[in-house]
Symmetry: C2
Subunit: 332 residues, 2 copies
Amino acid sequence: MTSGSICAEEQAEIVLLSGGGGGARLAAGLHAATTGERFNVVTNTGDDFEHLGLTICPDTDSVLYALSQQIDPVRGWGREGETWGVFDELTKLGGPDWFQLGDKDLALHLIRAALLADGVGLCEVTAVLARQLGVTSAVSIMPATEDRLRTCVSTSEGEMAFQEYFVKHRCAPQLMAVRYEGIAEAKPSPRLVDLLVGAGSRAVDVVLGPSNPFLSLAPILDLPGMADLLRERARHVIAVSPIVEGQALKGPAAKIMSELGLSVSAAGWMQWMADRYPDLIDLWVWDERDHALADTTRMTHPNIVVTDTVMSDPERARQFAEWILRASRDGD
Amino acid sequence: MTSGSICAEEQAEIVLLSGGGGGARLAAGLHAATTGERFNVVTNTGDDFEHLGLTICPDTDSVLYALSQQIDPVRGWGREGETWGVFDELTKLGGPDWFQLGDKDLALHLIRAALLADGVGLCEVTAVLARQLGVTSAVSIMPATEDRLRTCVSTSEGEMAFQEYFVKHRCAPQLMAVRYEGIAEAKPSPRLVDLLVGAGSRAVDVVLGPSNPFLSLAPILDLPGMADLLRERARHVIAVSPIVEGQALKGPAAKIMSELGLSVSAAGWMQWMADRYPDLIDLWVWDERDHALADTTRMTHPNIVVTDTVMSDPERARQFAEWILRASRDGD
């Protein structure tokens, strides 16, 4: 954070760092809560992969679909009212069928493929797709990097690409390590740097969504220079725990924490984040269901607040986003 | 041809050179007529193009669909019983919609894209797709070249790629010249060379399908070394006129002949082919509707025969294919 003092302040420009699950829900909540004010979503690209000759960007797309209110509310990914004409035929033809691709979803991937083939950068591609999907121009969605970055995992069944682990193997193998292939050579995307560096006197508050720390946030925060850029330019950095009552609401975060030998709790999450990104996070947001643990942990880490973080429907996502906006404005 | 004498001979292995329209129909007819005997289809790749990040091979795919009996009989291209989930969404999203891509068709393009991305050559890709579509293993479908070759046209509205001219502009601009980009560096595909050179003592008869000479046959026959290879290795070369009563049954062949200053007739077609590929073609097959013109032309070109070449349904395609097989066996 840029200042040690925390007091009632004006609304800063919000920058949400997001994976595809809870982060996308929070993005949709912020969209409802900001009612036309500018905000920004920085999406994880570590999950991106090449499949059937296409570049698939699952986390970016989840945010695009969430913000255009076209995400499938039941599955929590992909498009609502999806059809499966291509996928059914692909399966019939014996093509690779471990990654489900709906027709509407494919239309987006094909437009992205055409733009990438024309040499358009991933941020501009994402901006075009956002416009085409009808996302309000008040929101900027930007992949964290335009350079190639691919999350790989070492597991009990060997090294594998993230989507293989996540989709093909349904996170079943025991995870031993996570590696972000290409991250040493990757740069934060120019639009993100512009947003932070070019903010000038504008205040920027950064929210780390309730996303998987290993698979969604680290591939953003570990980009060379990224954590320092946030330390230097962000007024407040607020992190939302993805662990509630020792469970991840969605995805393998709890399983991975356990396999990596961490305490599976909001406290374990906070400790890992604080150790890995010292002096970055000003405010730790835990779910109110963990208030007892928060009370004891607060003795050593005073900047923990609790609220209802469970975004089980769009209205609760909006309410939580409003809480986040207030916390960002008030500094606590 | 390898021998000047033409007499009753055994059945040779048939190699059909084909575009996507009449050639694909003849391929399906040969499939019905050969009942399990080996034959080969060499497909034009000059129409191939890159679209939405995918490599589309329209002529090869028409042959694949024709031989797996899945070609749409009304449109004459693409898959029967096609659905349009992706294309409808692509159009809604403002993506490029000038080239229609059905869902089933796209499944094939995506499998091809995945294989090409893995470094598999176009002939092997085509063999895999043929197997997956259920084409009998007795038929080998091979793109004429695995190297990049792209037909471009000079028109009254400027230079353009073939598919732009053919699909986007529906062949409306006046055509002034055809150019086969990359052909000087392209090689006939290794499988085709193997088939011809490796035939050893086996006889090979080559059939030039009733395909557009400028757009479908020239991009095959102009490949470096190709015409000589055929002159040297083929027992007979039989060419089927795509012009019947001064009209092309399908496509822009007649319009292009007229624009290039040729006589729009089977005689005009034959003259162009004979001038461009001297000493290649042994037998010229005209439609019986042109018998009067054939009678007069035969005074200078004795090797013209007439029959019913109009393959208006699968049964007539089979009958014409049987006629071709007899002509190939008998040498006239």
